[in-house]
Amino acid sequence: MTRRKFIPLIGIAATAGYASMKLQKPPRVPDGPPGKSAVTIIRARSYSEDLVSRMLEGVRECGLDVRGKRVLLKPNLVEFESSTVINTDATVVAAAVELFHRLGAAEVKIGEGPGHRRDTLDLADDAHYRSTVAKFEGIFTDLNRDDVSLVRDFGDEPEFYFPKTVLAADLIVSLAKMKTHHWAGATLSMKNLFGLVPGSIYGWPKNKLHYIGIPLAVAQLSRKFRNTFAIVDGVVGMEGNGPIQGTPKPVGVLVMGRDLVAVDATCCRIMGIDPEKVEYLRMAADIGHVHPDRIEQRGESVDSVHSNFALIEEFRGLRLA
C-alpha cells in the first residue's frame, strides 16, 4: 500500500473510532472502596473573609488530625494573567499555612512545580504568594528543581522520579483551584498533583504525563499519593476555556476532604459537570467515591451552592442532567 493511500485510511479509521467513543454511553462507575467518604462544603464568599476559621471548620468536619505531621501544601500555580484567576488564591495559601500550624503540624511547607514556566519564584511573585504568605521563600520548594528519588510503584512505569520534599511529607494537601480544563474536563484536587512531577527530568510541560494519557496520569498520581487532603478554592473558580484562558466564576465555596476522588466528584456536581462522565474520575473510582450515595456531604449541600460552569463545546456532553 502506498503512503498516499495509507494516510487517508488511518484518518477514516481514527474518525470512526472517535465518533463511536462519543456515541457510547460509558458503563456505570464502580462503587469504589467500602464505606463512605466525608466531603465538606464551606461557604466563603470572598477572599477577605476569615479563611482560617472557615478551613478549620472544614478540617474538623472531616476529622483530620495533623498533629506532629510534616505537611506539604501543594497550590495550583500555573501561569499568571491579571485579568483572570488561574492560580489558587494567595490568601487561601496563606490561610492554609496558618491553619496547619494551628492544628499542630510539626512542619508546614509549600511546594509546586509549574508545568510551563521556568522561573517559579517570579510566578509566585506575580500571583502575590511572596507578598501574602509570611516567610514564603523560607518554606517554599520549587518541585521542578528539587532533589529526587526513584520510585518503582507509579502505575505501569518501571521507574519514575519524584521530589524528595514530596516523598518526605506525611500529608500532602492539594490546594487546588476549581476550574474547567480543555483536555480533562475539569481540573481539581487530583489533576493538581501534576505539579509534583519534576520538570528537571520530565520537562516544561511534563510531556511524559501527556503520553501516559492525562486521565490515566491523574489517576496514577492519586493512587501513588494516598496521604493526601484536599482543599479546593472555589471562592472564585474558572469556567469556559480553562485552565488558563477561561473566565472567573464566583462560587463562594471551599470544598474539603480526605478522599480526593470524592472531593473532585463533589466539585464537579457543584460546577454542573457529571463526575461519572469525567474519565480520570472513572479511572480512579477504585480508590475513592464518585457516587453521591457514597459521599457523606457535610457543611453546605451541593444544591445550595450549585452553579453551572460554562463548558467548551468538546465537553458539553459532560453537563450534569
Binding site: 528519588s149 526513584l150 527530568i201 520537562g203 468538546e314
Partner: protein, 297 residues
C-alpha cells in the same frame, strides 16, 4: 562595568560547588547537569576556577549512558535533553572524541513523537486539537515525547557548535528541520512559549524565557527573518520581572549582536546557582560569547 555584579555571582558559584564537582540548582543540593553546565560556562577560562571546572567536567562525563545520551543527574537513569548541553560544553572545551560523537549520534536519532506518520495523519484529518505543524522534526525533553521549543533550541546550539567536527548531511538536515519547527511554533504576539502557539483555535501568549532560548537556537538565520522576534525580545528584556528570563534574554541578544544596557552593579540576591551562572554569562564581561554560533551548520 559592574564588576560587583559579575564577581559576586562567580564567587558564589565557586563556593556553591558540591564535593562531587557538580552544582545543584541550589547550594548543598544534589548535582544536576543543567546548572553544572551553566556554572562551567560562567567559570570557563578563569584561571582561579580551572580546577573547579575540570572536576565538574570529570563528573558530568561519567553520566553518559551506553547509547550516548547523558543523564540529567547522577542518580537518574536514562538520557534526556541535557545531552545537548554536554555537546555544547565539549565544543566550548575543544573536545571532540568518541563520547561526543556518540552523543551527537544519539541526538540525531531522537525526534519529537508528534512527527510520526500516525500523528501527522491525525493532524491532517483534524483529530488534533492544537494548531501545530507536525511536519518538522524537533527535539523532546525525553525520547518518546513531543518536541518543544526549549530542548529544540538547546539542541540547535549544540549541533551548530559541533557541526564543523561532526560533518554530516543528516546533521545539516536536522538543523534546518529544528529551525523550521521553531519558526512554525511562533506565537501570534511574535515570541515563543514552550511550544504551543494555539489551542482550540485560541492564540496563546509567548513567554520571555522561551523567546530568548528560541533566538539562541536560531542564531545564524538572516537578520530579516529575526528582526521581529528580536524586537519582541528587547521589549521583554525591558519589561520582565523574571531574573532568569532577563538573563537568558541578555545572552540571546548579545549572541545576535546587540549590546544591551548592563545591569545595575548589584550583588547577587538569590541562592539559585543556575540563575547566578546565567546572569554571570550575560554580563558584558561574562562568557556569553561561548554560546554564540557562527552560522548555519
Amino acid at each position: 562595568v559592574g564588576e560587583l555584579y559579575l564577581d559576586s555571582r562567580l564567587d558564589f558559584l565557586r563556593t556553591a560547588q558540591n564535593p562531587d564537582g557538580g552544582w545543584g540548582y541550589f547550594p548543598g543540593k544534589q548535582s544536576w547537569l543543567e546548572p553544572t553546565t551553566y556554572a562551567m560556562l560562567a567559570l570557563h577560562g578563569r584561571p582561579e576556577s580551572q580546577s573547579a571546572v575540570e572536576k565538574a567536567w570529570t563528573l558530568v562525563r561519567s553520566w553518559q549512558t551506553p547509547e550516548g545520551s547523558f543523564r540529567p543527574s547522577g542518580n537518574v537513569d536514562g538520557g534526556t535533553w541535557v545531552t545537548a548541553h554536554m555537546v555544547t560544553l565539549a565544543s566550548v572545551r575543544g573536545v571532540y572524541d568518541d563520547k561526543v560523537r556518540r552523543s551527537v549520534d544519539w541526538i540525531l536519532s531522537v525526534v519529537g513523537a508528534e512527527h510520526s506518520l500516525t500523528m501527522r495523519a491525525a493532524a491532517f484529518f483534524g483529530l488534533v486539537k492544537t494548531k501545530m505543524d507536525f511536519s518538522h522534526g524537533g527535539w523532546p525533553w525525553r525520547q518518546g515525547n513531543a518536541a518543544w521549543i526549549e530542548p529544540t533550541a538547546h539542541t540547535l546550539v549544540a549541533l551548530k557548535k559541533v557541526a564543523a567536527s561532526y560533518q554530516s548531511s543528516d546533521l545539516d538536515h536536522r538543523v534546518r528541520e529544528g529551525e523550521a519547527l521553531i519558526f512554525s511554533r511562533r506565537c501570534s504576539d511574535g515570541g515563543w512559549n514552550c511550544g504551543n502557539p494555539n489551542n482550540l483555535n485560541v492564540d496563546l501568549p509567548s513567554y520571555p524565557e522561551t523567546t530568548a532560548l528560541a533566538l539562541m537556537g536560531l542564531q545564524g538565520r538572516s537578520s530579516q527573518e529575526l528582526a521581529g522576534p528580536l524586537e519582541v525580545a528587547r521589549r521583554y528584556r525591558k519589561d520582565t520581572k523574571s531574573s532568569l528570563a532577563k538573563a537568558w534574554l541578555t545572552i540571546a541578544l548579545r549572541c545576535h549582536g546587540d549590546n544591551p544596557e548592563p545591569p545595575a552593579d548589584a550583588a547577587r540576591k538569590s541562592e539559585d546557582c543556575m540563575l547566578a551562572a546565567v546572569e554571570a554569562l550575560g554580563h558584558p564581561n561574562g562568557n556569553h560569547g561561548l554560546l554564540r554560533v557562527g552560522g548555519r551548520a
